[in-house]
């Protein structure tokens, strides 16, 4: 970090479950490197499972998928095609895309940002990293990541996510305090909390 550059192998990144949109295991490249100019994460999945979950990019991001290793079968707006190692797939925001891992050890790199706007991290991948810390018993490390989340456009989301983290892995009093803060900012937090299993430990 202090040298102004870093060397990394994608194999050094721990595959993490918990992608909020489903799909494969996250190799958290953007979080690990602290990328600030564009989003870039790698994904892996078991044979026959989604490595890119079915989705469109409501964020407005355009994305480039690069099959770094193995083979995947992509479907974009109903068009299915085989994507061996070295394949590049460019998808605009509104196009529906998904991909299935066709070989063990397949890795797909996803690069994305919104045209005409400076890149801003949204924090979903940080949450995945934090929850992985929490699940592994590294509660303090995960808490640090959670507190470093961007505030985002909806002011209730960060305290809500903090509440979920504390309820699952940390301190229930902190969880209640964060949830109270989220609810004070928006009724949306109350609606989500009503059926969010992350908050089961503090449900009365």
């Amino acid at each position: 970090m202090s040298k102004g550059y870093e060397i990394l192998s994608l194999d050094d990144l721990e595959p993490l479950p918990g992608n909020p949109t489903g799909g494969g295991l996250l190799l958290p490249l953007r979080h690990t490197l602290g990328l600030r100019a564009f989003g870039a994460n790698a994904w892996t999945a078991e044979l026959g499972r989604h490595i890119v979950p079915p989705h469109e990019e409501e964020s407005g991001d355009e994305e480039l998928y690069v099959v770094v290793r193995g083979r995947a079968r992509f479907t974009v707006d109903g068009n299915a095609f085989d994507a061996p190692e070295g394949t590049l797939v460019h998808v605009t925001a509104g196009e529906h895309r998904e991909a299935i891992a066709e070989e063990e050890g397949t890795i797909v790199l996803a690069v994305g940002a919104t045209p005409g706007r400076p890149f801003e991290r949204r924090g979903w991948d940080d949450v995945v990293v934090a929850f992985a810390h929490g699940a592994a018993g590294r509660v303090a490390e995960g808490r640090t990541v959670m507190h470093d989340l961007p505030d985002g456009e909806a002011s209730w989301v960060k305290p809500y996510n903090l509440a979920c983290y504390e309820a699952r892995f940390g301190d229930r009093d902190r969880a209640r305090a964060h949830l109270d803060e989220a609810i004070a900012r928006s009724d949306d937090a109350r609606e989500y909390a009503a059926h969010d299993s992350d908050l089961d430990s503090i449900r009365e």
Binding site: K3, G4, Y5, E6, I7, L8, S9, L10, D11, L33, G34, L35, R36, A37, F38, A40, D61, E62, L64, V66, V68, R69, F74, V76, D77, N79, F81, A83, P84, E85, G86, T87, L88, V89, H90, V91, T92, E95, R97, I107, L109, V111, G112, A113, T114, P115, G116, R117, P118, F119
Partner: protein, 208 residues
């Protein structure tokens, strides 16, 4: 949706021994910079030696195939498939040599805190093979298209003027060179010594 295999990308051979394989331009990507590079042969440059002082990009170089020896800030690192170097500091000099014929390096870049703007070097690189073959009109057209998006880019204007001078469009060359020098006076100093302008250097209004 657009797709391609890296082996299907155009090959634009540069004088330094590396081969530019345009991705951003092929897919018309507007949100970040992305290209691939390969060496002309094993032992040749695969990433040209440069800094990012001007563009202030942070960059990732990911080896997709083969092996490459990177030199970053004087340190050497030999990388294989799936390995990458992330260079946060735009001041650091970086470059790489391809160690195998089939080496492919993916490069990603962008400036933190700023919306991405396609880099002016892309049309300049794209025009290099045309310039070698003295296909001036086609090289000029590539620069004119780039200037439609960035009309006051001094380096693009200067390069356009070079091409126009070589292609016999003397008046256009003078106009574009003058504009480049107005925007960035150092281009006038370059022009004074640039053989591309031999045909117009004695013209009235030559900015030197």
């Amino acid at each position: 949706m657009k797709r391609a295999h890296v082996d299907e990308l155009d090959r634009v051979e540069m004088d330094d021994g590396f081969v530019w394989r345009p991705i951003r331009r092929r897919f018309d990507i507007r949100a970040f910079g992305v290209n691939a590079y390969s060496p002309r042969e094993a032992g040749a440059q695969v990433v040209e030696e440069h800094t990012e002082r001007q563009l202030e990009h942070e960059e990732i170089y990911l080896v997709l195939r083969g092996r490459a020896r990177f030199t970053v800030d004087g340190d050497e690192h030999e990388l294989g498939p799936g390995q990458l170097v992330f260079i946060r500091d735009p001041q650091l000099r970086r470059g790489a040599v391809g160690l195998t014929d089939d080496t492919i390096v993916l490069a990603l870049g962008g400036k933190p805190g700023a919306a991405y703007v396609p880099s002016a070097w892309e049309p300049m690189f794209y025009a290099v093979p045309l310039m070698r073959e003295e296909r001036w009109d086609e090289a000029i057209r590539i620069h004119e298209e780039a200037l439609e998006e960035q009309p006051d880019h001094p380096a693009l204007l200067y390069n356009l003027a070079c091409l126009e001078a070589r292609g016999g469009r003397r008046l256009d060359a003078l106009l574009h060179l003058k504009r480049a020098a107005e925007l960035e006076p150092t281009w006038a100093e370059h022009a004074a010594k640039d053989s591309d302008f031999a045909s117009i250097r004695s013209e009235p209004g030559f900015p030197a």
